[in-house]
Symmetry: C2
Subunit: 162 residues, 2 copies
């Protein structure tokens, strides 16, 4: 069980767009060159970010991608769900109701409430999502600026030219 | 990104062994019949639980599996790690150091500290792991007993006989 590489690519690309922030779209090829990523696969991730409302796509020869929201309004949860989808990590298939054990259960309340296994795993997943939701792209950018203040300038030099 | 079905199977099977708790091993075929699971694949999960020290395997004609620890000493994190392995959900591949952006970074501290993206995703993963670690097999069994008090008896009738 592991996130796709697309999450790392997406967060760094969003961060780069936040640093560049010159109001002009940046093309996929330029964004891909920023971290030596395969352009076509990065493009698929960028399209997923557009569908999730995190990026705006500008068509045309001078087109590309722009942040669709302020970095403060893009959470790590937004990015993970955009790339990975909104399926739960743990999916309960109600095996409690199957087989010999399920057949022996005859109380009216035996299956009335959610399975305690599902609830336990779900509580942990809620904690994960809340921690992702509590961290914005702006927070991550600020943390980088604090411990590596040259990086924002490096991104602007690498990606900010016409 | 999703957990394998094996996690649901493992937690329910461990719970069933906690309910039966008659000091005698229960065979894979009986455990599989408990929830109508495919025996060979369940057996692989049970072997993973043995390797993780959660189950004890007893060989022989009357052999099978027993809990290796008290239900209070088995956490949901123990089960998830036994089945899914101990890889992080988010694996940082240090793309920050690659490509045009990486080449433009020249400050001595640019890569001295962990990547802020890795740290942000890692904090959420820590929250998930802590929430899993805080819930024991005994807690999950107790929650089931509270809202569906017949289930423990049903498990003993289904799996507890010789």
């Amino acid at each position: 069980m592991r996130m796709s590489k697309g999450v790392e690519w997406a967060v760094h690309t969003l961060l780069n767009l936040a640093w560049v922030d010159h109001g002009r779209p940046v093309a996929t090829a330029q964004l891909a060159a920023g971290h030596d990523l395969p352009g076509p696969y990065l493009h698929k991730q960028l399209q997923a970010l557009v569908r999730a409302g995190l990026l705006e796509s500008v068509p045309g020869a001078r087109g590309g991608f722009l942040l669709a929201r302020a970095p403060e309004a893009i959470s790590m949860l937004d990015v993970v769900l955009a790339i990975e989808g909104d399926e739960p990590l743990f999916r309960c298939t109600e095996i409690r109701q199957c087989g010999l054990v399920g057949a022996e259960c005859s109380g009216p309340d035996d299956f009335a409430l959610p399975c305690a296994v599902k609830s336990a795993l779900g509580r942990a997943e809620t904690a994960w999502r809340e921690a992702l939701a509590a961290q914005s792209l702006a927070d991550v950018g600020r943390a980088t600026d604090e411990h590596a203040p040259n990086v924002g300038g490096a991104v602007r030099r690498a990606l900010g030219s016409d």
